[in-house]
């Protein structure tokens, strides 16, 4: 089995168990202000890190500002204009593709 399939199945099993655990665990174990705060901030930090790495990191371990960064700027502009998710994603792709054509 390829590494990708292993990762897909690990993520699937783990994410399902997290969902099931939430429905099954006695609530007082996890319903504490600190746990709730970490759980609320975790997606914020991870998604921000993913944005940064996705847009600025290169495959050889360096950093670069290129068409992807311009795509992200366009995405931020579209989000400010309250555009739907699909428009944001494909708008960024379109701009990056056009910049590469030039």
């Amino acid at each position: 089995m390829s590494g990708l399939w292993v990762a897909v199945l690990v993520a699937a099993g783990g994410c399902y168990l997290l969902k099931l655990a939430g429905l099954s665990v006695p609530s007082h174990l996890l319903e504490q202000p600190r746990v709730e705060r970490v759980a609320a901030l975790l997606p914020v930090g991870l998604l921000a890190a993913l944005v940064a790495v996705q847009v600025v990191a290169t495959s050889d371990g360096g950093l670069a500002l290129d068409a992807r960064a311009l795509g992200l700027l366009v995405a931020a502009g579209l989000l400010l204009l309250r555009a739907p998710f699909l428009v944001v994603v494909f708008g960024a792709a379109l701009v990056a593709a056009l910049v590469r054509l030039l």
Binding site: L18, G22, L41, A49
Partner: protein
């Protein structure tokens, strides 16, 4: 004992229809970005089958995008899976909130758990009684499940037909997708600071660590902020 799912007769027909309609509406809106997940996943190098398996089995959008994003940036697939799991922890918290509302045990809980996501939790939590919450949870969860998976397949097949993703800027679409998922969560000053801090840490360790690891290292920022931040900084007030 809870009633059979969908057989919550305690809800008057008119209100019932409204809840079902809302669920379907959320399903259509969420399903639409299943297309972008499918296209982005194939562009990252996953097969159509792997892409569809993610939507069927992982079924929590941010985690799926994370796994695919780490793979796209050259990271180890297991680092992608670890990032997906960290993002999936919030569903456990949702489950805690939902458990008393849904009141499910046995096979209902085992099956229903897969539907615990951002959207179904939001649509169940607006009600404070069991029958309405169950109806909101199931209508939203099932609508999103069906449409998310169908649209993932559409996006994956389209992405495959397109060929080299860089030509179409699909690699830039991954960052935009993460930004779109992040945007609504930046509602407090603390959240914005955590976002900036985590992004800076991730970029700082890019030259020092293998691809995929920087995002995991950056997870220290939200964990420390959550543990150490003064209570006042967590409020929902707009700081500006």
């Amino acid at each position: 004992m809870s009633e059979a799912p969908g057989a919550d007769l305690g809800v008057p027909p008119r209100e019932r229809r409204a809840i079902l309609r809302d669920g379907l509406g959320v399903g259509i809106a969420t399903g639409a970005y299943g297309v972008s997940f499918g296209a982005v996943s194939v562009a990252a190098g996953l097969s159509v089958a792997q892409t569809c398996a993610l939507s069927l089995l992982v079924f929590t959008g941010a985690s799926q995008f994370a796994l695919v994003g780490v793979v796209a940036s050259g990271g180890a697939p297991l680092a992608g899976a670890a990032t997906a799991l960290l993002l999936g922890t919030r569903n456990a918290l949702y489950g805690l909130r939902l458990a008393p509302l849904l009141g499910w045990r046995g096979w209902r809980r085992v099956v229903g758990a897969q539907l615990v996501i951002d959207e179904s939790t939001a649509m169940a939590s607006v009600h404070d009684d069991g029958p309405r919450a169950r109806l909101g949870f199931l209508s939203t969860g099932l609508a999103v499940f069906v449409l998310w998976n169908a649209m993932t397949l559409v996006g994956a097949l389209a992405g495959e037909a397109l060929g080299d993703p860089r030509t179409y800027g699909l690699d830039a679409a991954v960052g935009a997708a993460f930004l779109g998922l992040l945007w609504p969560r930046l509602d407090t000053l603390l959240a914005r600071l955590v976002a900036l801090g985590a992004a800076a840490v991730a970029l700082g360790v890019v030259p020092l660590t293998p691809a995929g690891a920087p995002v995991l290292v950056a997870a220290v920022v939200p964990v420390l902020a959550g543990l150490l931040a003064p209570r006042a900084a967590v409020g929902r007030e707009e700081p500006t």
